[in-house]
C-alpha cells in the first residue's frame, strides 16, 4: 500500500443515508421523491432482484443443491452475508451468546425476509401504562397509524380485518387461501382453543393499485430468494431503485462507513467510509445524516464517532447508545400429519410469507409472564433442497407401513424409497415469535481490543435472557403441543425442557434485534427524540430498528418503514423551516 490518503469530496448533499434496508430505503424514497438530493452509502454490492434473484432456479442448477455453505439460508437465498462475515468479526462478553445476522447488499435483509408484515399495537407502544412490564414509547399507536396506512398503500400487504385489540388491521389486499396442512392446523388450533387468522404479508396477491412498476405475485413461494417481478417487498426493488429513478438519489455501493464527521459546532457534517473496491478512505459531506445501518450497525457507528464535542460517541451523552438491545424470542416444534401421508400431488407453493398466523390474544393475568408471542406455521410439498428426506429414516418407524405393520426406523432400498414418497408433504412446523423485554443490561458496546479488517473497532455483545422470556418459551411449547394433538400430528422434534430453556433461541437468532438508540422525551434516558432525531445533534437521525423503545411480538419491519417515513417527512418539514 502506498501513502494512505483521505479523498474528500467537494460535493455536498442535502442528506446522506447510511444503509439501504427498510429504514434507509424508505427515508431515501420519501426524500428523493420530494426533490431532496440524497447520497446513499451501502456497505455491500448493488443488488436488483429483477436481475440478481435466484427465483425459479431448480436445485440441480447448483452443484451444492441449496446447501448453506456460502449463504446462511441456502444457496438460492436472497441474502448475501450471514452470521459471520470474513474480516468483520464481533465479540461476546463473558458467557453471552448472541448471533448477529448482517446482509450487506442493496436492500439489506429485506431481500430475503419472511415478508410477515405486522403493525405494533396500542399496548406495544405504551407498555408501562398497560401492564408496567416495559417502558413507554414517546409516541402512541394513533400517531403512527397514518404512516402504517400509507406504508400499506405504498408497498402492499395482504391480510384480513379482524378487529383485534393489539393487532391493528391495515389496508389489506386479499390473503392467499390456506394450503392443506394449514387447514389441518386451523382445525387443530380450534380444538386446542388457539386463535388462528389469515396471514399478513407484504406480497402482492393482486396488482398494487396505482403501481405500474411492480408485477403481481405468481405464487412460487420463493420470497426468500427476492422477486424478479417485484411482487413482494424488498427495499431494493420497491424503494431504492424507484428513488434512483427520480434522479435525486445516488447510491455508492461497497461503502463501509467508519464514522460520522462532526464540525466544531457539534453538528454532523458528513461521514467517512472505506470503499471496499479500491480500499481507499473517503469523506462525503451532507447537511443532514441519517443512519440506517441496522440497529447494531448504527449503534456501532455512533459509538465510533467520538469527537471533542461528543467524547462519548455521537448522540450518546446519556450513555444509552447500544443499551436496551432486544431481539424477539423464538421457539419451535415440528412433526407430521399421518393423515397426509401419500397425499395427492399438486402445486401448493403459494406465497413465500405466512399464509396463516396465530396472534397473541391471551389474558396475562392468568399467566406468569408479561405479554406474549404470535405463531408462524410451515410445512407442505416444498421444492426439494439440500437435506431433503433426512427426517424420513428417523420417523418411518412411528407409523405402520403399507402392510399395516410397524417396522424399525431407518432402512434402505425400495421400501425406503417408497417412504420418501409417503412422507412427502406431510410435515408441519410451528415457530413462536414473542416479545422480549428491552433491558438496560442487554447491550452492545465497542470492544476495546478488537478492530475489523478496515481498522474499525467492532461490537461486543452482552445479553442474557430472563425468566420472563424463558417462561414465554415454555408456554409456546405447551401451545404447540396442544395444536399438534388437536390435529392428530406426531411430534418429531426433540422435546424441549427446562434444561434447554424450552427451545428458546439464542438472542439475535430471530433477526429482529432493535432498541440500541431508543427514542424518548428525556435526553438523559434516550438517544433520540420522538422524531428519531438525536437529542445531542439536531441534523442526525436514525431510521432503522435502533429507535425502538420496546418491540411487541410483531416482526419489526413494518414499524421501521412507518417510522422512517415519518422521520423523512419531519426532515423535509424542518428543512423548510430552516431548523436543520
Amino acid at each position: 500500500m502506498g501513502d494512505l490518503q483521505i479523498k474528500k469530496s467537494t460535493e455536498k448533499y442535502d442528506v446522506i443515508i447510511v444503509g439501504s434496508g427498510a429504514g434507509g430505503g424508505m427515508a431515501g424514497y420519501i426524500l428523493a421523491k420530494a426533490g431532496v438530493k440524497v447520497l446513499m452509502l451501502e456497505a455491500g454490492p448493488y443488488f436488483d432482484p429483477a436481475k440478481d434473484s435466484k427465483q425459479l432456479q431448480w436445485p440441480w442448477e447448483s452443484p451444492r443443491r441449496g446447501a448453506s455453505t456460502t449463504r446462511a439460508f441456502g444457496d438460492f437465498d436472497g441474502a448475501y452475508g450471514g452470521w459471520q462475515i470474513e474480516g468483520e468479526p464481533y465479540t461476546l462478553k463473558d458467557d453471552t451468546q448472541f448471533t448477529w445476522f448482517r446482509s450487506q447488499m442493496l436492500g439489506g435483509r429485506t431481500n430475503h425476509w419472511g415478508r410477515i408484515s405486522l403493525r405494533m399495537g396500542p399496548h406495544d407502544f405504551k407498555g408501562k401504562s398497560f401492564d408496567g412490564a416495559t417502558d413507554d414509547w414517546p409516541i402512541t399507536y394513533d400517531e403512527v397509524k397514518p404512516f402504517y396506512d400509507r406504508v400499506d398503500r405504498l408497498i402492499g400487504v395482504y391480510g384480513t380485518a379482524e378487529g383485534l385489540e393489539n393487532d391493528p388491521d391495515g389496508i389489506f389486499l386479499p390473503p392467499p387461501k390456506p394450503r392443506l396442512n394449514e387447514l389441518f392446523i386451523m382445525e387443530g388450533a380450534k380444538k386446542a382453543g388457539v386463535k388462528v387468522i389469515p396471514g399478513r404479508g407484504s406480497v402482492l396477491t393482486q396488482a398494487l393499485p396505482g403501481n405500474l412498476d411492480r408485477g403481481a405475485c405468481f405464487f412460487c413461494g420463493q420470497c426468500g430468494r427476492s422477486c424478479r417481478v417485484y411482487g413482494d417487498f424488498s427495499s431494493s426493488s420497491c424503494l431504492v431503485i424507484p428513488a434512483i429513478e427520480t434522479g435525486n438519489l445516488k447510491v455508492i455501493p461497497n461503502a463501509m462507513v467508519r464514522e460520522v464527521i462532526v464540525g466544531k459546532d457539534g453538528l454532523a457534517k458528513g461521514v467517512s467510509y472505506i470503499n471496499k473496491d479500491d480500499s481507499m478512505e473517503y469523506q462525503v459531506n451532507g447537511d443532514t445524516v441519517i443512519l440506517a445501518a441496522s440497529a447494531c450497525g448504527s449503534a456501532r457507528i455512533l459509538l465510533n464517532s467520538r469527537s471533542a464535542t461528543h467524547p462519548n460517541g455521537l448522540a450518546n451523552s446519556s450513555g444509552i447508545v447500544g443499551k436496551y438491545l432486544h431481539d424477539s424470542t423464538g421457539s419451535g416444534m415440528s412433526g407430521f400429519l399421518p393423515q397426509l401421508m401419500d397425499r395427492k400431488r399438486y402445486n401448493e407453493d403459494g406465497v413465500g410469507s405466512a399464509q396463516i398466523l396465530s396472534p397473541w390474544v391471551l389474558d396475562n393475568k392468568k399467566l406468569d409472564f408479561p405479554r406474549g408471542y404470535h405463531i408462524e406455521f410451515g410445512g407442505g410439498m416444498r421444492m426439494p433442497s439440500y437435506g431433503f428426506g433426512s427426517d424420513v429414516p428417523k420417523v418411518n418407524g412411528l407409523v405402520p407401513g403399507r402392510d399395516g405393520k410397524m417396522k424399525d426406523a431407518g432402512g434402505f432400498g425400495k421400501s425406503l424409497k417408497d417412504d420418501y414418497r409417503r412422507f412427502y408433504g406431510a410435515n408441519v412446523g410451528m415457530a413462536g415469535r414473542g416479545m422480549a423485554i428491552a433491558r438496560e443490561s442487554n447491550y452492545c458496546e465497542i470492544d476495546p481490543n478488537v478492530v475489523d479488517k478496515y481498522g474499525i473497532p467492532v461490537l461486543r455483545f452482552n445479553y442474557k435472557w430472563t425468566d420472563a422470556e424463558i417462561k414465554q418459551a415454555k408456554h409456546m411449547q405447551e401451545t404447540f403441543e396442544s395444536i399438534m394433538h388437536g390435529m392428530g400430528a406426531i411430534i418429531t422434534s426433540k422435546a424441549q425442557g427446562k434444561e434447554d430453556n424450552y427451545g428458546l433461541h439464542t438472542p439475535g437468532d430471530i433477526i429482529h434485534e432493535v432498541g440500541t438508540a431508543r427514542m424518548g422525551d428525556d435526553p438523559k434516558t434516550s438517544a433520540l427524540n420522538k422524531w428519531s432525531q438525536a437529542h445531542d445533534c439536531k441534523n442526525l437521525f436514525v431510521t432503522d430498528g435502533a429507535p425502538f423503545v420496546q418491540q411487541g411480538d410483531k416482526n419489526p419491519t413494518w414499524t421501521i418503514l412507518a417510522l422512517s417515513m415519518r422521520t423523512a417527512e419531519y426532515i423535509i418539514d424542518q428543512k423548510k423551516k430552516k431548523n436543520i
Binding site: W60, P63, R65, T69, P175, K177, R345, E348, G410
Partner: protein
C-alpha cells in the same frame, strides 16, 4: 421471465457450465462464490476409484431403480457427493473413514472388500447398520456413517430431475394459487375458507 427459464440442462444432473464454475445458473453469485466454485472444481477428485465404486454401489442399495424411477446412479448422485465433500469438508473424514470401516468389516467377514463381496453379503452388512435403534454396539460407527451416506444420497437423488419427478413436486413455475383443489378437500372432508384470492 426468459432469464429464469428452468431446466436448461440436457441430462439428469449434469450441469451446463457457463462460466467454468460448475453452476448452471450463476445469476446473482458474488465474486467470492464464483471463485470458490472455480477453486473446488479445479481440485483433484477427493474419492479414489475404489471409494467411488463403493459409494455408487451403496447409493444404489439405498435408492435402487423401481417401477417409478431410476436409481441413485441414474441421477448421478456420486457427482453430487464428490462435490459436496469438497464444499463441506466436515463430510470428508466421516465419509472416508466410514468407507474404510465398511471395507474392514467385509474383509474380516468375507475376505473381500465391500464391492468385492456378493450382493447377499453386501445386504447382510447394510442390514446391520441401516436401522440405528437395533444396530449392535460394535456396529454403531457403521450406522452413523450409513445415516450420513443415506442423507447425502437422498439429497443427491431428490434434487435431481429424476428425483423431483419421482417425488412429484409440481411447483417452481408461475401460476395462481387458489387454495386446496376441490377433490382434495373432499378426500379429507374439509371445506374451503370463505376468504382469499
Amino acid at each position: 421471465m426468459g432469464a429464469c427459464k428452468p431446466g436448461t440442462d440436457k441430462s439428469s444432473s449434469t450441469v451446463v457450465d457457463k462460466d467454468g464454475i460448475g453452476d448452471a445458473n450463476p445469476i446473482g453469485l458474488q465474486e467470492f462464490e464464483k471463485e470458490r466454485l472455480k477453486e473446488l472444481n479445479s481440485k483433484p477428485a477427493f474419492f479414489d476409484d475404489h471409494e467411488r465404486l463403493t459409494l455408487i454401489t451403496l447409493a444404489d442399495i439405498i435408492i435402487p431403480k423401481d417401477e417409478v424411477s431410476g436409481s441413485a446412479s441414474d441421477a448421478k448422485v456420486i457427482d453430487f457427493i464428490e462435490f459436496i465433500v469438497k464444499d463441506i469438508p466436515e463430510h470428508q473424514v466421516p465419509m472416508r473413514g466410514g468407507l474404510r470401516w465398511l471395507d474392514t468389516q467385509c474383509l474380516n467377514r468375507y475376505d473381500k472388500s465391500f464391492v468385492g463381496s456378493t450382493s447377499q453379503q453386501q445386504l447382510e452388512i447394510v442390514n446391520e447398520i441401516a436401522y440405528p435403534s437395533k444396530a449392535k454396539p460394535e456396529m454403531h460407527q457403521g450406522a452413523v456413517f450409513f445415516d450420513r451416506m443415506r442423507n447425502l444420497t437422498a439429497t443427491g437423488f431428490y434434487t435431481s430431475k429424476i428425483g423431483i419427478k419421482d417425488i412429484g413436486y409440481a411447483g417452481n413455475t408461475p401460476g395462481k394459487w387458489t387454495g386446496v383443489p376441490a377433490d382434495v378437500l373432499k378426500q379429507y372432508n374439509l371445506t374451503q375458507v370463505n376468504y382469499g384470492v
